[in-house]
Amino acid sequence: MVILMAFLSGLLMTAGIAVSAMIDPNKVLGFLHLGPGWDPSLALVMAGALAVFLPGFLLIRKRKAPVCDTQFHLPKSNRIDKPLVIGALLFGLGWGLVGYCPGPAIAALTSGSVATLVFVVMMIIGWFAARKARL
């Protein structure tokens, strides 16, 4: 049950990324590049996702526990610290450079594109480096 639900959740997330065309980095850059021909679609993707998640989360939080576990696993920290700020800044720079964030990049691996594969491999190296730096 846990495995199936995790699989379905991942499937829905990249299905949504595909339907909204956010799997296409040009579509993302059309939003992040301000100027003539600006494309606000990405803002509506966020709005559509939040319109479902926000009220749904409020309802789920009334439960004592999720369906398949004894407790919720929510991030506890609420501090605005240096790693959060620096990390978000670096991530944004990389995102705006090519138009890939982790979800769409992993989703686009299905195209067989070598450039997408290189991006994902570099991203995994980056994750490894970040974990090492934290120790």
């Binding site: 995790a6 595909a18 998640f53």
Partner: protein
């Protein structure tokens, strides 16, 4: 705004939100794609459900391709930008504990102050570099 696709953006967004909601309802977990995928690789504890989630990520676009027969999407040209951007996205989401899904959707959806700040910062940085560096849509 000739490229604006409000209907598919809203529908796609709602599907993304449903996926995130399903993980919260069933497993009580935040659907942060960077966190789940990196932990699936570098952490042995809780690996099974994370690997299942990543497998789902790879099946989602294939399923959409089966249903929407005209579904195609561009991919970047291979160049130094892809190498540098991949590394920046990996280090940044690793150090900053999240990406567009974890901070942008789940975090904002939980009204987490941390995630709202992170999202404002990576959005601002994304706007800055894309506006200065790329030609916008139809770069490739």
């Amino acid at each position: 705004m000739e490229n604006f696709t409000p209907i598919s953006a809203l529908i796609g967004g709602a599907i993304i939100g449903s996926g995130a909601l399903l993980l919260m309802l069933m497993l009580g977990r935040v659907a942060g794609i960077s966190g789940i995928a990196s932990s699936a690789i570098f952490q042995t504890e809780g690996r099974a459900w994370r690997l299942a989630f990543v497998a789902g990520l790879l099946v989602g676009p294939l399923l959409v391709g089966l249903i929407l027969t005209d579904f195609t999407f561009a991919t970047p040209d291979l160049g130094w930008e892809v190498v540098v951007a991949g590394l920046l996205v990996g280090v940044g989401t690793g150090v900053g504990s999240g990406c567009t899904s974890g901070h942008g959707i789940c975090g904002i959806g939980r009204l987490s102050k941390r995630s709202i700040v992170a999202t404002l910062i990576f959005m601002a940085a994304g706007f800055l570099i894309a506006t200065l560096f790329t030609q916008g849509a139809a770069t490739w």
